[in-house]
């Protein structure tokens, strides 16, 4: 699971550099996220703009990451591609996360 993590003040931006988070990679995704979120930050923004596909295992892993961050540290999502957005929408998980269309201005070159 290839990803990059960059701290921008109180915001930790994690960009997933893979085209899928699925049953074959969900556990690895969660483990890598556990490692890189050891860096303290108030908020974690997960950039999914390179992820073309996410299945229910991948969705479960994203929810799992949100839980392991704890209640005081928010997980936000950014750049959902159409099929990924569909999975979040159908399962109503789009109501749980703050979802940004793209990375905030000024951070887009970070990845």
């Amino acid at each position: 699971m290839d990803l990059t993590a960059t701290a921008h003040g109180a915001l930790l931006v994690i960009s997933i550099c893979e085209n899928r988070i699925d049953a074959a990679s969900a556990i690895q995704f969660k483990e890598r996220m556990r490692e890189v979120t050891q860096t303290p930050s108030d908020r974690v923004l997960l950039d999914l703009s390179q992820v073309q596909f996410l299945d229910s295992s991948g969705l479960g892993a994203v929810v799992g990451v949100m839980k392991l961050l704890g209640a005081d540290r928010k997980l936000e999502l950014s750049g959902l591609t159409p099929t990924v957005a569909k999975v979040f929408r159908l399962t109503r998980m789009d109501s749980v996360f703050t979802i940004h269309p793209t990375l905030p201005d000024g951070l887009r070159k970070a990845s």
Binding site: A23, A24, D55, S56, V63, K86, L90, R92
Partner: protein, 142 residues
Amino acid sequence: MHLTIASDPVAVRSALDTVLASTAMLGLGDCARGTAEIVLAEVLNNIVEHAYARTTGEIQLRLVPKSDGVFVAVCDQGRAFPHEQLPQGILPVIDVDAGLPEGGFGWFLIRTLVQDLRYQRTDTTNHLSFTLLTDAEPDSVH
């Protein structure tokens, strides 16, 4: 097209690539193709995880283009569904305070996104079939 897939998540991933690039899927637009990938991933990974429960086995997949979409038939020789019935696929309750669900979405997605879902157990084989619609956009139901 016919495809035989090993019961393994990595084999499922590469089978999805093959299937989505196949001529059987040519009639599907981008949206229906995304839907097809979601459904096939859920169906196949469910067989890997539950029917074969991580033991070795084979999954036989058959796709037949038809006027309104693609007919899909999937067979495996793993365990039958409990009571030989498909899961109801009810969307797990989303309650942040009570603890968010990390699973249980698969059959909800399948049931939401396909037509004519059928399941039969014969002797040692599970037979599942359904249709992926060309113009499927069941999201609009919400």
